[in-house]
Amino acid sequence: MSLAAVEEEPRHPEGAEPDYIRGKSGVMSWVLTLDHKRIALLYLGTVTLTFFLGGVFALALRTELLVPENGVMDAMTYNRMFTLHGVTMVFFFMIPAIPGVFGNFFLPIMIGAHDVAFPRLNLASYYLYLAAVCLGLWGMIHGGTDTGWTFYTPYSTTTTTTVLPILAAAFVNGFSSILTGVNFIVTIHTLRADGMHWMRLPLFIWALYGTSVIQVLATPVIGITLALCAVEHFLGTGIFDPARGGDPILFQHLFWFYSHPAVYIMVLPAFGVASELVGAFTRKPLVGYRMIALSTFGIAFVGFLAWGHHLFTSGQSAVDAGVFGFLSMLIGVFTAIKMFNWVGSMYKASIVMAAPFIYTLGFFFLTVFGGMTGVALATISLDVHWQDTYFVVAHFHFIMAGAVVMMFLGALHYWFPKMFGKLYTEGPAMVGAVLVILGFIGTFTPQFFLGNEGMPRRYYSYPAHFQWLHVTSTIFAYILFLGLLLVLINLIVALANGKQAPNNPWGAPQYEWDIPSPPTEHNFPATPVINRDPYEYRGQEIIENAN
């Protein structure tokens, strides 16, 4: 991968392999494709759809909460709506979003491979994911369920709503997630190009690695738990039913054994993208590469041991609460290491301002505040007050939704030229980014105050003294939605009319910018050799973006 070689030879001679989009045509070439890049685009389409769907649910919820009682829907509809919002966003958007789209697209390219290790398995995981989405949609059309995305027993085993398809959807989605994880880990281990040592892996790859480990080891637990829940529903096995000797608390343990690490399944890829963006836009090597990489595994490991902090108010003993509370604190430290290194990387940098970097700045704020309120929530005595209030809602929207959405959009803008070979228009993209960030902060900051005051989550109606904060939150939710629409329109316009992108429009140092935009079907004409570190700046010309 020496630069000299790149500039001397024409990289893309006439008659060479065509790019992956134009290489083949026809519907079948897409639905049965084994090309990781095309699978990534399939994911992108589906994920955008589910994001939109979850967003519509969210807006409906916010609209209902404008008034204390009896707004636009009844209580049952509201309860179904927040369940579907949660299920859609968590299982169908946030978990597959970044690994499914950008992981699939860039993981092989970044390590110098022609594809993932098991391309057919990769397609299978996409179809499992699609099947899960379809099952979920089918369940929603048949009334949806009202259990909350946490499916707490015994409510979920006694509800009369159609909970089974939704449980099945989460179960199937779990398999998609596991197979993707297996595929990624094997790819990273076995398909790294010559010269790609472990300490040359881009940080995005490290993040995906950590994510995949969690996916493989935690997801089966939720699979079996939800299966038990479903079996209980129609056989009455009673494992979680106190009337038959079971214990609902066991469900919570098993559920959070997955769902707490699942938070890191969602945010670790976002952290990985943040590292890439900081690396590209500061135009200097990242500070603390090793620390960022290692802290990923700190988060992944300790993340497994902190699930009990979701059960502080369930009657947990002080002993167990102490253990879980203590372990929860350590995760915050690992996240803090990353944060210090990212912001530290901006020192004496030469920062290029573009939409992706605006998202990164938003991500910094949301992650620090969201993460530290997480530590606050893990402080046991404070959790007693905040548990199950809007404070929790606001916290996890900041850290989970905030980090993922910021970095999903950041990554989409950043890699857009590479993925589609088109340049987007920077002006509207920046306006969109600012709107999204402000909308996001504005939507959820009032919810912290609501939680302080004691407003419980999942409330359809509420005492009137909470109203002004709800109204504020709703107004900003609409601004957020407008921002997202602007982003969407801008990218669609770019897709249709964007200028042809050069290979490296950002002048970024990472490996993936060396190959043509869009890449050819097999990424590289031959297996490449890597001879430099991932963020080693080589003095590329910045080719100015359009406008």
Partner: protein, 224 residues
């Protein structure tokens, strides 16, 4: 990316089973095996939720656990264990012989393994059948004989028992299917000492099925 033909190794004499993304067979073999190990790690976690439920309730209701365990057939459990161990043994030998390129004996060993799997399934079905007659199926089918004086919590035991063993049996069925396909491939001469990835990986999966049963046997059949 640098395009350097000298490091473009292995493409000249590329064997037919080698996929384009791999540079050599060894690495491809390794990837398949590694992937299977990851999948097995996943399987261990899959069963762990049930194990956790088991431990959770056994810890709370030791008496019910012991009484309920006496109602399932230990002799059958023992025979099933030996059956599965033997099938593991034959699979291990099958891999041994496929490495030596002895197709006939490999097929035979795979066939014996398949039979063991089927015998296991038959024995287990018979167990379920008797338990069904005794009213020991969990949930709403749980109607044990009154004179057994089974505590109500023993329902938890049978819930755990059925869920775990049914899940295990599903794995056996999948394993039988996988080994069956591999056996047919082997008869058709797909494998050679140079390429036997499927046999190795399928064998790993089958061993895991055995591995899980090694724990289920004392945990469910031999509660003192």
């Amino acid at each position: 990316m640098q395009t350097d033909a000298t490091i473009d190794h292995g493409h000249a004499e590329k064997p037919p089973h080698l996929r384009f993304q791999f540079s050599d067979s060894a690495r491809q073999f390794h990837a398949a095996k590694f992937g299977m190990w990851l999948f097995l790690g996943q399987e261990v976690m899959f069963f762990s939720a049930l194990l956790c439920a088991y431990a959770y309730y056994r810890n709370q209701f030791p008496v019910a656990w012991s009484m309920a365990s006496h109602r399932i057939n230990t002799t059958f459990g023992l025979l099933e264990t030996i059956d599965l161990l033997f099938s593991s043994f034959t699979v291990a030998l099958a891999i041994h012989f496929v490495r030596l390129g002895r197709r006939g004996i490999t097929t035979l060993l795979l066939f014996v393994t398949l039979c063991c799997g089927l015998i296991f399934l038959c024995m287990h079905s018979y167990e379920y059948y008797t338990e069904w007659h005794e009213g020991l199926l969990p949930g709403r089918f749980f109607h044990p004989e009154a004179e057994w004086h089974l505590p109500m919590e023993s329902a938890m035991f049978f819930s755990c028992y059925f869920f775990t063993t049914v899940l295990h049996s599903i794995h056996v069925i999948i394993g039988v299917g996988v080994l069956g396909v591999i056996m047919i491939f082997n008869i058709r001469g797909k494998y050679s000492p140079a390429y036997y990835t499927h046999v190795e990986v399928g064998g790993l999966y089958w061993h895991l099925v055995d591995l899980i049963w090694i724990f289920l046997f004392p945990l469910y059949y031999l509660v003192a």
